[in-house]
Symmetry: D2
Subunit: 400 residues, 4 copies
C-alpha cells in the first residue's frame, strides 16, 4: 500500500487513500482498500463488500471502489403504454428506501392501465451544452454573434470528428455584454451523452478559437443546466422532451383512486397555487420520487434527477372523467453507457426491453408513463386523506 502522508502540524494528519496497482479494481485490491477504510474509521464494511460480480466491471464507473451500495429494488406496474416507441404492458423496476412509494406508483399505473393506457410522445431529443467566449468589448462580441451562424457547417464538422454517435443539431448565440454564450444542441442517440458533448464541443471551440480572434473560452457556462434546476430547462429542454397523457374514467377513479374527477382536479388546482407562491420551477406532485427510483434501478446518472424533475403536470376535467398529463422537457436518460451496463442495472433495463442501442426513446416514454402513475396516485392520496395512513402502514422504519 503506497499511501502518501503529509504532516500538517496545525490540523493533524490526513492520510490519502491508497493508490493501488492499475487503480485497484480487482477483487483483492478492492478488498485491501476496504480494509484500509475499516481500519481508519472503525467501521465494518461487510455488506458493502458483498458484490455479486467481478469488481473489474466497476472500472469506468467509479474510482477508489470499496464495493457497492445495495438499494432495495421492487417492481411497480403494470402500465400500458401507447407511445411512438414504447408499445405494450410494462413492469417498472424501482430502487428506493422510501416505504409506500412503490405501492403508490403501482396504484397509479394500474389505474392508468385500467383506463385504457397512457399515450406518450417524444417531442424533442437533444442534449445541450453552452460554452462561453470572451471578448474585449461588446462590439467585438456582437461581431462574433453574427459570425457563428455563418460557420455552422464548419463547426459541425469539427464537433462531429470526435464522436460516432453525437450529431450537432443546433447552435444558438446568447450574447451577454462582452461574453457570448453559445448553446450547442446534439442528438446523442441512446447515451446520456454529456461526456460525448463536452468532448465534441471542446473540439468545436478549438476550431472556433483558431478561426475567430477570441480572448478565451470555457467549455461550460452553467447555462446548460446539467444537474441543476432552471427555468431554461422548461423551454430549451435537455435530452428527451417527452409527454404522457391519459383519460381517467369516472369508474376507474372511483375504484382505484377512491375519489372523483372533481376531487382530484381540486387538489391539482390548489397545489398549483402553492407552487406559484413558492416560485417553483414548473408543477408536479412528485416526479422526483419515481424518477429517482427508476434512475437508480437502471443505472442512469442519478444526479440528472435534478434537471429531469423540472416539468409540468396538468389535470383537466371533462365529461368522461379527468384528462391527466405530464411533460418532462429535460429527461436525460440512456440505455447505453454510464451505469446502464452494470449487472443489476442491465437486468432492470432488460425487464422493460430497454437495454442497449435503439432503446432510449422507448425507455423515455415508459418512464414518462410510469411517473404519471405517481402524479395521480399522490394527488388522490392527499384528497382522500390516505396519504397519512399509507405512510403509517408501509413506512414502518422511521423513528417513533
Amino acid at each position: 500500500m503506497s499511501t502518501s502522508k503529509v504532516t500538517l502540524p496545525d490540523v493533524g494528519i490526513g492520510d490519502l487513500l491508497p493508490r493501488l496497482k492499475d487503480q485497484g479494481y480487482d477483487t483483492e485490491r478492492v478488498s485491501r482498500r476496504r480494509a484500509w477504510i475499516e481500519e481508519k474509521t472503525g467501521a465494518t464494511l461487510k455488506h458493502i463488500g458483498s458484490v455479486s460480480f467481478d469488481t473489474e466491471e466497476l472500472r469506468g464507473n467509479i474510482e477508489n471502489p470499496i464495493g457497492a451500495a445495495q438499494v432495495p429494488m421492487g417492481v411497480a406496474g403494470p402500465v400500458l403504454v401507447h407511445g411512438r416507441h414504447a408499445r405494450g404492458m410494462f413492469y417498472i423496476p424501482m430502487a428506493t428506501s422510501e416505504g409506500a412509494l412503490i405501492r403508490s406508483y403501482e396504484r397509479g399505473m394500474v389505474a392508468l392501465t385500467r383506463s385504457g393506457g397512457v399515450q406518450t410522445a417524444i417531442l424533442a431529443d437533444e442534449n445541450q451544452i453552452v460554452p462561453t467566449f470572451f471578448f474585449p468589448d461588446v462590439a467585438t462580441a456582437a461581431g462574433f454573434s453574427g459570425w457563428i451562424p455563418k460557420n455552422i457547417d464548419a463547426i459541425r464538422t469539427a464537433a462531429e470528428t470526435t464522436t460516432r454517435h453525437g450529431k450537432l443539431t443546433d447552435v444558438k448565440c446568447y450574447q451577454t455584454g462582452r461574453q457570448v454564450l453559445v448553446n450547442f444542441g446534439y442528438n446523442t442517440a441512446d447515451a446520456q451523452g454529456m461526456n460525448m458533448l463536452v468532448k465534441a464541443t471542446d473540439h468545436a471551440c478549438k476550431w472556433i478559437q483558431a478561426n475567430f480572434p477570441i480572448s478565451s473560452y470555457f467549455v461550460f457556462s452553467g447555462m446548460c443546466s446539467e444537474k441543476r434546476p432552471s427555468g431554461f430547462l422548461l423551454t430549451r429542454g435537455k435530452g428527451k422532451r417527452v409527454t404522457a397523457g391519459a383519460l381517467l374514467t369516472h369508474e376507474v377513479l372511483k375504484m382505484y383512486l377512491h375519489c372523483t374527477a372533481q376531487e382530484l382536479f381540486d387538489i391539482w388546482h390548489s397545489t398549483v397555487i402553492g407552487h406559484l407562491h413558492a416560485n417553483a420551477i414548473g408543477y408536479n406532485a412528485q416526479y422526483a420520487n419515481g424518477l429517482t427510483a427508476i434512475f437508480i434501478a437502471t443505472g442512469q446518472d442519478v444526479a440528472n434527477v435534478v434537471n429531469a424533475s423540472c416539468g409540468v403536470t396538468n389535470f383537466e376535467l371533462q365529461p368522461e372523467g379527468l384528462y391527466v398529463s405530464l411533460t418532462l422537457p429535460a429527461l436525460t436518460v440512456a440505455t447505453v453507457g454510464g451505469g446502464t451496463g452494470l449487472p443489476t442495472q442491465r437486468e432492470a433495463l432488460t425487464m422493460m426491453g430497454c437495454h442497449g442501442a435503439g432503446k432510449a426513446k422507448k425507455f423515455a416514454e415508459i418512464v414518462a408513463a410510469a411517473v404519471l402513475g405517481g402524479e395521480i396516485s399522490m394527488g388522490a392520496a392527499i384528497t382522500t386523506g390516505e396519504f397519512v395512513a399509507a405512510h403509517e402502514h408501509y413506512g414502518r422504519n422511521r423513528p417513533k
Copy 2:
C-alpha cells in the same frame, strides 16, 4: 401465488403483481416474485436477487421487493472539517456510476484539507410542510389568517401529540385569495422527518378544523417544495441549512488544482452569468453529483436531492488566495429512519461516525464540506481544460 387477472378486451391483459403472504418479504417470496417477473418479461434477474442480507430487512423501505440494485461505491477524502458538530478528518462514501466523479471530489477534498480544512455551521434546522385551508371568501380567510397566530400553543399541542421527536417550531400564514397556506416548521431531530411532519400536521389540521369553521383543507399544497425545485427553498430552507467555507491558499491552488486564484474566480464569475441567464435557482458547480452519491451510499431519501441541490456557491478573491464557500439551505438529511438502517447504508454512515441518534447535524456538516470539494475541483477542471481529459481517462464505459 394469488395474482388477480382482469381481462380488458381492447387493451390486452395486464397482470397485477402477485400479492404474497405477509406482503412477501421473506427470501422465498421475494424469490417467487422475481421469478414471476422473469417469466413475464424474459429478463434474468440473477444479480438483482443477490442480496447479502435477510430480505425481511426490506420491510418498511419498499414494496413488491425483488432484490437490490448494486450501485458501485467508492471513497473520497480525506476532508478535514472544523464544524460545530463535525470535527476531524473524514472519508466519504459515495455511490455512483459516473466515472471521474469520485476522483474529482477527492481532489477537491484533499485541496481543502491541505489548506487547513473547512469551517462549517448549521444555520437552521427545520423541516416544513404547508397545508392549505379553504374559505368561502377573502374576508373569512383573512379572519383565519389572524386567528392562527393566536392559537399557536394549542396547534403545537395537537401536532406534538403524534410524535416523540418532532417539535413544532414555527407557524406562518400565507393567504392567497380565499385560500390560506399555513407553513408549519418542525425540528425533526435526526430524521428526515416528512412522514412525522405529515402525521403531526394532519393532526393539527384536524384540531384547527374543529375550532375554526373552514370549508376544507389539504395537508399538502406543494409550497413546502419537498423534492421539487423552488426559489422558496433558498429563503425558507428545508431541513438543515448549512454553510461551509475555506480559504484556498495560492500554494494549494497551484499544487492540487493546477490553477491560480484568479483563474478559479474567473470561472465562478462567468458561470454565474450563465446561471443568471438560465434563470437557475441559486448557483452551483455540481452539488447534485456529490449529494446524490452520498445520499445513495448512506440511505437518504435520494429524491430529496432535488431540494438539497438548491443553494449558492461563492468564490471570493483575497490576498492570501481564494475564499470558497457554499450554502445549502435545504439539506434534508437523516441518520435515523428511512434507508439509514439498511445494511450497506448503515455501514457507510458508520464510516463517518454518523449512524444513529444525535448525528444528523454532524452528518450535514460533513456533507457540506465534501460537496465544497466538488465545487472547487469542477471549477478548476474547467479552467485548466482537464475536465475533458479526466472524463476521457476515467469514464471509459460510454459508447465510442
Copy 3:
C-alpha cells in the same frame, strides 16, 4: 448659464447640462434649461414646458427640470369595495396611452360591482431592505448570525432615531458563506418608505459595526427586490400585502363579460400552464397595465410596478358562478411623500379620498379591487375573441 465644457479630443465634446442658481427650479430657470436643450438638440419643447403650476413645486421630485410629461388621464369605475380600510364606491383615475385599457378595466370593475362588490384585506404592511455584512470566514459570520437576534432592541433603537414614522418590525439573518444578509422589515405608515428605510437601516448598520467586529457592510444587497422581479417577493412581501376577491354570478358574467364561468375558468387554467412554462413569477392576466396607469396618475414611484406586479390571480368555479381573487404581496404604494403631493397627482388621489396621512391602506385596497377588474375583463376578452376587436376599435393610433 454656467455650463462646464470638457474637451475630449477623441470622442468629441459633451456639454454638461447647465448648472443654474438654486438648482434652477423657478420658472425662468426651467425655461432657460429647456431652451438650452432645444438649442442642443433642435427639438421644440413647447408642450413639455406647458406646466400648469409653479415649477418650484418640482423641487425634491426631480433634477434638471424642463417641464412635465402630459400623460392622458381617464377614469374607470365604479368599483364597489368592501374592505377593512376602503368601503364604498370608487372611481379610479388611470394615466396611460394604451387605447382600450381603461375600457377594459371599466368593464371589469362594473362587473365586480354588479356582482355585489369586492372584498379586500391588507394581510401585511412592511417594507424591507437587506443590508449585507462581511466577515473573514464562515464561523465568524455564524457568530454574527447568532448575535443579531439577541440585539434586536438596540438595533431598533438605532434605526428609529432617524425617523418619526418608520417602525422596525422585523430583523432576520440569511447567512450565505461568510456574508450575512440581514433582512430589516419596517412599517412605513403611509409613505412608500424606501428613503426612510435606507436612512434608518444605515444608522442601525453603523451601530452594529460599532458593536460587533465586522469587516465591512453595504446597506443594499439587492435581496430586498426593490423594483426588480423575484420569487422572494411572493413570500416575503414588500409594502402592502393585499388580497381582493369577489364572486361573479352567472348572470353578471353573461351580461357584462359575455362568457360563462366555465369559459373564464378555462382561460385561467390554460394560461396558468403558459405561465408555468415561461417560469413566470406568479400568475396574472395584466396587473402591470392597471398598476402602471394608477401609479402614474397618483404620483407613485412608477418603477415599483416591477415588484408590485408579482402576485397570483386565482379563478375558482363554484355553483353560483366564478370566485375570482388576486393577491399582491408587494404593493408599495403611498399617499404621502414622493410624487403624491404634485398637483395632478394629489387631485387624482383626492378623487378616491386617498390623499395624505392615514390613507395608504385604504388606497392599497382600492388598487387591488381595481386591478381585479382588469384580470377578469382581460380573461373574458380572450375567451370571447373580443380582445382583438377591442384593440381595433379603441387603439386606433398604431401604424397601419
Copy 4:
C-alpha cells in the same frame, strides 16, 4: 349627459361614467366628464384639466378622458453612444417624481462619456406572442406539433395579410400534455407591436383552425410574458434584445464615481449573491428607475417596464479599469404608434432624434446606454455611502 343608472338595493347605487357623444374626446365633453367626477367625488381637478393641446388628440390612447397627469420631466446626460444605430452624444428626457434619480443617472452617463462612451448593439429584434391550441389527447397534439413546422409558409401568409409592417420571423411549438403552445415571433419594425401581433396571430390561428382539426384555441397563453416577469424573457427575448458596454478607466472612476474599480466590482459581487438568494430574474442595480422615467417621457407603454427590466448587468475587473455592461433581452420600445405621437412625448423623442419610422433600434441603443449610467452610479453610491446622503439632499419631499 346620458348616464345609465342601475339600482342595486343591497349594495347601493354605482353610477356608470357618462357616455358622451363620439365617446367624448372634444374639450367640452372632456370638461363635462371631469365635472361629473368632481361632483361625484368632491375633488377639484383643475390641474388634471390643464391640458396644453387639443383633447381630440387623446383619441386612440385613452377612454373616458378627463385630462392629463403632469409628470415632472428633467434631462440627464450627455451620454456618448457608439452603436450600430445610435451614434453621437445624447441628452435623455426622463419623467419621474423620485428625487435624486436624474442626478444619479446624469452622473453615470457623464462618467461613461468621459471614459470614451458606450458601445451598443441590437442582438435581436422580435416581439412574440404564444397562442395555445387544444386537442383531445397527447397523440393528436403531437401530430399537430409536427404539422406546424411543415406549414410555416402558409401560416406566414395568413398572418401577414393583416399588417403592412409586421413580419412573421419564427414559429416554434411547445407542446405540454394535450395543449400546444405555439410561439410566434415577429419583426414589428418601429412599433411596440403587440396589437399588430395579436391581430396577425389571430388571423393565422383561424387559418390553422381551418386546416387542422383542433378543439379550440386561445390567442394568448401568458407564455409570451408581455408585461410580466419570467425567466423565459431572458432567453427568448421580447422586442429589442440590446447590449451596452463601456470600459470605465481608473481616472474616471475616481473623479466621477468616487470609488475604485475594485470597490465597484465588490458591490456587484455581493449584490449578485443577494439576487441569487432572492431568486431574482437576472441581475440589475436599478433598470426600472431609468426605464420607467424614459418610458413615461417618450410615450412608451409604461407597463412594459415589467418585461424590459429583466436583464443582466455585469462588471468585470481588468487592468485598465472596470468593464461594465448590461443586456436587456426584452426591451419593447417604439418610436411610432402608442403614446409616441402625443405632444410632450413626441417632443421628448425628438430631443434624441428618435421620433418616427426607422428610429426604434437607435432609440433602443440609447436607452441601453442611458440605463447603464444608472447601473454604475447606483453601485458607486452604495459603495461610497453617498446613496443615503444623495436622497437626503435631493429627495426632500418625503415625510419627516
